[in-house]
């Protein structure tokens, strides 16, 4: 039988990446002054698993590279060698290198071994340099251990075969080694060698008195005659597992005198090895669903078309399968804890009960049972909601997945910048949608780099100001309402308002005598082309940064704020929806169309009164909302759709806040609020400006979800156009 090992590759890659993460975090956690044996063991185990898997699944480059890593780890683990900072650094480089190799392999390309080969040389130098004599003795045993007799030229005149004296240790059975198995294997071997079979002669000399006999012990020994032309190594292999604790002697038949032997019938002759039949898994040719889907609405030749489509459906089927198989490299799987699955199963159980209850009710329904029906339906509603929540939870992962890279990053970076930094991570178990997690990684890296580079002062500067030598960067995640908040906080000098202001004026972002509040000044750092670093450093401050961060976060329907205190540090707070798949929405009507506003973006909904309105230019209005001026836009204008054109006075206004500022949006009517499942519009169409996706309403129709930050940009574009026109 042949098994396609590639089906396990994806799992292997995933667990290897996990193993590398574990190696990395353990290496970083290692306190060299007091080495924790279990930590070393954990690191070793990860390397060991990667090596074993790589070898088994045919990635020999990885396997042989990991071998040297493992060998050094093994020596450290065994206490043969101490661990030094150099080793840790080298191991960390290996982690990176292995990640690269794995990614290459996962992508199906030939891995670049240059770095691995360099590292391997370094490892081999360490291994050779120590007092410990390295590896590779172990392979010697069975291969070269063959005694001279196997190589001695066989005596052609004598009979071919071997005489084996097998005196097992008394507790051989207690290791599960059944002598009968060895006889059986010898028998098979003899038959393969076209020999005359096997003779097994038992010896009972060792048998003790019945009273002192222990039923679990083996007191017998045997002389075995194999009359076949076989190599000694083949026989040795059979006894490989017991050779160390049993007395086994081999002799060529041609070299011994058989006449003195009492010959018995072979014991093992009855051994019949059942051939294992591989069950053929017959793929059930399930009727292709395509066929069912055909609804010929047309009055024309429907039968002929249906027939043709049926054929098509059948033809298509294998193509689809092939496609599915061709994409193994893409990382689309997700690991789900058993708890979540159990939760789901429970929920489905309840749903089934409700369904059968309703089904029964439906069969024998009369008006008197209306209340039961209503109860049943509300139960169904609850079941559905709970089921939905549980399904959504499957996509949720603890944020530690995104945080895990920071200990390494902070370590490397603080070395590079010559700063002392302590990283504190809180709320690592806070859960977040997998997709959001993948997209928040880069912005977080940017923020942490930024805090380290710009936020934290040098050691000298800190001690001069009476602060601790080491600065602290805190990553904190927690749930707040329907959102997750992620904070990146440093205890550095805080944002320098004057410098930001000056820079913004320099760059023409603000006017010379524009008066700004503190938060407006801080907000300037999110403007495109803004960088406050005096020296453009390697680490950050290339001027592409915070604006990109804000944009990335806005794409996730999230927002970012910064607060800062002179001399005490700054805090960046990212607010994100928990999931991209479901959204709490406010339904609004414009003309005949229904749109959905994300509830998180809505500040308030009000009916416009004349007193609130101010006209700036032509058709551009702003409203005064407490002490703010909010521009007003009409959805029907932005979307070019027919609405109920009417006076702004008395119009329904939804005030929303995206990533930058508040905007009042005129709609025809406010409908209900509900949770909606977000569907992609891009999948079959294109990205649409100011629309983030679509959903399906209760009546089966499609409603579009408004992208508030996109809308904001649009309205500010309009505004700036108007301003230029005005100027």
């Amino acid at each position: 039988m042949s098994i396609d090992l590639s089906q396990f590759h994806q799992v292997f890659f995933e667990e290897s990446f996990e193993g590398l993460d574990i190696m990395e975090s353990s290496l970083l956690a290692l306190d060299l002054t007091e080495v924790d044996a279990e930590t070393i063991n954990t690191i070793f185990r990860a390397a060991h698993s990667i090596k074993g898997g790589a070898g088994t699944f045919g990635f020999m480059q990885v396997s042989s590279f990991t071998h040297v890593v493992e060998t050094l780890l093994d020596e450290i683990r065994a206490g043969d060698r101490g661990i030094e900072q150099d080793h840790v650094d080298l191991f960390l480089q290996c982690v990176d290198c292995l990640r690269g190799l794995m990614s290459d392999l996962q992508a199906g390309s030939e891995p670049d071994m240059t770095q691995a080969d360099d590292l391997k040389i370094k490892f081999e130098a360490i291994l050779a340099g120590g007092e410990v004599i390295a590896e590779d003795n172990d392979e010697a045993g069975t291969q070269t251990g063959n005694s001279d007799i196997s190589h001695a030229s066989p005596d052609d005149s004598g009979e071919k075969g071997w005489k084996i004296e097998f005196i097992p240790c008394e507790d051989v059975l207690c290791t599960g080694n059944e002598p009968y198995r060895m006889f059986r294997e010898l028998q098979e071997l003899a038959e393969e060698g076209e020999g005359k079979g096997l003779e097994v002669i038992p010896h009972l000399e060792r048998l003790p008195d019945f009273s002192s006999m222990h039923p679990e012990m083996c007191y017998m020994s045997w002389t075995i005659i194999v009359r076949a032309d076989i190599e000694l190594s083949e026989i040795e292999e059979i006894f490989e597992w017991v050779v160390d604790d049993c007395d086994i002697r081999y002799q060529r038949l041609s070299e011994c005198d058989l006449s003195t032997l009492e010959v018995h019938q072979a014991v093992g002759s009855t051994a019949e090895v059942a051939e294992v039949e591989v069950e053929a898994t017959v793929a059930l040719a399930t009727k292709n669903k395509e066929v069912d889907k055909i609804t010929a609405a047309a009055p024309v030749v429907s039968e002929k078309i249906e027939k043709a489509l049926e054929k098509v459906a059948v033809k298509k089927a294998p193509k689809v399968e092939k496609k599915a198989a061709a994409k193994p490299a893409e990382n689309t799987s997700i690991r789900v804890s058993i708890d979540k699955i159990d939760g789901l199963i429970n929920m489905v159980g309840e749903l089934v009960i409700t369904q059968s209850m309703l089904g029964q009710l439906g069969q024998e329904f009369d008006v008197s049972r209306l209340q039961s029906l209503q109860e049943g339906l509300s139960q169904l509603e609850q079941n559905t909601r709970e089921l939905q929540e549980s399904v959504m939870k499957i996509r949720m992962l603890p944020i530690s997945f995104a945080f895990s890279r920071f200990p390494r990053l902070v370590r490397d970076l603080s070395k590079q910048l010559d700063k002392e930094v302590e990283l504190v991570m809180l709320g690592e178990n806070t859960e977040l949608d997998k997709t959001v997690m993948e997209k928040i990684g880069d912005p977080l890296v940017h923020l942490v780099r930024n805090s380290l580079d710009h936020g934290l002062e040098s050691v000298q500067n800190r001690t001069d100001n009476g602060k601790s030598r080491a600065g602290t960067i805190t990553l904190n995640a927690y749930h707040h309402g329907g959102n997750i908040v992620i904070e990146v906080k440093d205890d550095g000098a805080g944002l320098n308002k004057e410098r930001i202001r000056k820079k913004a004026i320099e760059k023409g972002i603000i006017g010379e005598d524009e008066h700004l509040t503190d938060s407006q000044i801080y907000d300037l750092i999110f403007q495109a082309g803004f960088s406050t670093a005096d020296v453009v450093s390697d680490v950050s401050g290339r001027g592409v940064g915070m604006d990109v961060v804000r944009r990335n976060i806005a794409e996730l329907n999230g927002s970012i704020d910064v607060s800062s205190k002179d001399g005490e540090g700054s805090t960046f707070s990212i607010r994100l929806p928990l999931t991209l798949a479901i959204l709490d929405g406010q339904l609004v009507r414009v003309g005949e169309e229904v749109y959905i506003f994300p509830l998180v973006s809505i500040v308030e909904s009000i009916q416009l009164e004349k007193s609130m309105l101010n006209n700036i230019t032509g058709n551009q209005f702003v409203m005064q909302l407490r002490n703010e001026y909010v521009p007003i836009v009409s959805l029907q204008d932005i979307f070019n759709i027919d609405g109920e054109k009417k006076d702004l006075e008395g119009a329904m206004l939804v005030v929303v806040e995206g990533d930058t500022e508040k905007v009042g949006i005129v709609v025809d009517e406010l409908l209900g609020q509900q949770q909606v499942v977000i569907k992609s519009l891009e999948q079959n169409y294109e990205k649409v400006d100011s629309i983030s996706g679509a959903t399906i309403l209760g009546d089966g129709t499609v409603a579009l979800i408004v992208d508030i930050s996109g809308l904001n940009n649009k309205s500010s574009e309009n505004k700036s156009e108007d301003q230029t026109q005005a100027a």
Binding site: R45, G52, G55, E135, D138, G176, W241
Partner: protein
């Protein structure tokens, strides 16, 4: 058909082993470390146990030691999956009561051959 308990903390190895053995008609149950294997073994008797050596929580050596203490597992073959660089582990395994070992890396055919020999 014979029942086998396959123990490995590496999911890919475990899946490969289970897939191979199931394909050959064996009834396979999986466990991801020694202690999980031990609690499974207590509920049901397997004809053979196949275990990795290096595992978190409870390693393979400890598992054999514990298994041999159970009446049901006194004589049941226990095979260790081990790497060629772990010669001393082979001995430790034997001393703990392991029947034998299969050297990693191995391919499905090698695995099946060994299992067939042990189970007959």
């Amino acid at each position: 058909m014979a029942t086998i308990l396959a123990v490995d903390d590496s999911a890919s190895m475990r899946q490969m082993v289970a897939f191979t053995l199931k394909g050959a008609g064996y009834d396979v149950q999986e466990a991801s470390d020694g202690s999980e294997a031990l609690s499974i073994a207590k509920t049901r008797k397997f004809d053979l146990v196949l275990s990795d050596v290096n595992m978190p929580v409870m390693d393979g050596i400890e598992l054999v030691t514990e298994l041999r203490k159970l009446g049901d597992y006194k004589f049941v073959p226990v095979l260790m999956l081990t790497t060629e660089s772990a010669g001393d582990k082979k001995m430790a395994g034997k001393q703990a009561g392991a029947t034998g070992w299969i050297v990693k890396p191995f391919n499905p055919e090698q695995l099946l051959n060994t299992i067939k020999k042990v189970l007959g």
